[in-house]
Amino acid sequence: MPRSATRTLVLMPVAIALNIALGSTVQQALKLPIYLDSVGTILTGVLAGPIAGLVTGGLTNVIWAYVLPPPLQAPTAGPFAVTAAVIGLLAGLWGWLGLFRARRATETTSLFVAVPAAALVALVIAYTFSRAYTSPQGFNSVTGFNVNAFRLSELAFVVVIVVFILLAAWLLVVRRDAGAVLALAAGLLTGLVAALVSAPISAFVFGGVTGFGGDVIVAAFRAAGSNLYQATLQQGLLSDPLDKMITSLLVFFVLAAMPRRLLARFPNGDRLVGGAPA
C-alpha cells in the first residue's frame, strides 16, 4: 500500500482539468446531449477515495465558474459545485465497494452479483421516478386534467430505464463483461442522486434557466403543468442518469485499459486490481 499522499494531491488538479477539458472541448466536438463534465471527478473518487472525489468535484465547478478566463468560463456552474461534490463522494463509495474493479468476462460469481445488483438499482430508480412523476400532476393527468404531463413524464422514465436495460444487455451479451454492469448501475444511482441535489439549485437559484439544452426540457415540463421545482427535478431525472451512466462506463473502460502497475499505486488500488497479480 503506497503511503504517499502526494499522488492524490497531484491527481486532483489533473482531474479538475480533465473535467473541464472533456466537458467543454470534447463535449462541443461531439455535440452530444450529455454534460461529460464529471469523468475526472468519478475517476478521482474511485482511485483515491470519497474525500478526494468530493474536493475534485466541488473545486471543478468553482474554478469553471469564477477563475477561468471567459472563453472557457461557465457562469452558471458555481452553485452546482454541491452536486459535483456529492458525485465525487459517491464515486469514492463505489470505488471502496469495488464496483469499478475489472472482472474477468465470464466469471460466474460476478455474474451472480452483477445481475441482481443491476436489477435492484433499476427497482430503486423505478420507485423514485414513480414518486417524482406521479405526484399531484401525475394524478391529475390520470384523471384527465393534464394529459400532457403524464405522457412526458412517462416518456422520460421509459427512456432512462430502456437505456439502462439496453446498455446492460449489450455489456452482458456482446462484451460479456459483468463488471461493467456494476459500474453502469453505480452510474445510474449517481445520476439519480445528482438529479435530486441539482433540482433545488436549478429551480431556486436560476429559475430553471442555466443556459444549456436542459432549459427547453424544463420549460416543456412546466408547459405540461409541473411547477418550477418539479420541472427541474423531472429534467434532472432524465438528463443526469443518462450522463452518469455513460460517464461511469467511460471511467470503467479507461481503468480496465490502464496498466495494473499504475493503478495499484493509488490509495484505492488494491480494491481496483483485486485478487492475485497477473
Binding site: M1, R260, R261, L263, G269, V273
Partner: protein, 216 residues
Amino acid sequence: MIVLDQASYRYPGTSTWALPTTSLELRPGEVVGVTGANERGKTTLCMVAAGLAPVTIGGELRGRVLVDGRPTVELAGYELAQRCGVLFDNPTVQLTGLHRIVYEEVAFGPCNLGLPLAEVHERTQAALRILAVEHLAGRNPGHLSGGETQLVALAGLLAVRPGHLVLDEPTSRLDPERSLQVADAIARVAGAGVGVLLTAHDEELLARVCGQVIEL
C-alpha cells in the same frame, strides 16, 4: 552512504521482479556507473536506491536498502529527498509546471523544506552556478530546450543538497558539449562529497567520471 544488500523489488500489481537480486555500495564522493541492456532494471534500480520504491510507489522490496545507515522503508518521502536526489530519464516531467521562472523552479525544493529565505537564495544561486546555467534564471521553464531542461531539473535537485544523487541516463538527450558540462558538474558534485549513482549507455561518459562500473 547507500547500501543495497541482496535487494530485489517488484512493482505493485505485478508478479515479476523488475529488479533481480542486487547488492552494491555507494560511498560519499564516489561515482558508480551502471550499464546493461534496456529492460534489465536500470530505472528500477534508480527508484530502489533512492527509496522512491517502495516508499512512494508501493510494491514489495526484499533484502535491505540503507541510506546513511537507515532502511529507506522507515523514511518519509521528504526525508529521502534530503538524502538522495533522483534525475529521471525524461526531464520535462521533472519540472513542477507550477513556476513562471527558472529561479523559482530551482528554489522550490529549499522552499518546501521551510529554510530561512537567505539560505533558499544561497542554495538556489549555488545550484545554478555549479551547472553554469545562471543565465537561465529568468526564463520560463516551459520554454527551455531539452538540454536546458535537463540542467534546470538537476539544479532543482542540487538545491535540496542531498547527500547522494541518482541520475538515470543524464546525458541521453544532450549534445556532446552539454554532456561534457554535465560530466564536469558530476565530477564537481562528487568532489564535494556527494555519492553519485549513474546509469548510462554512453561508455565515454562512464569511463570519464565513474570510479566503478556495474553491469546489470
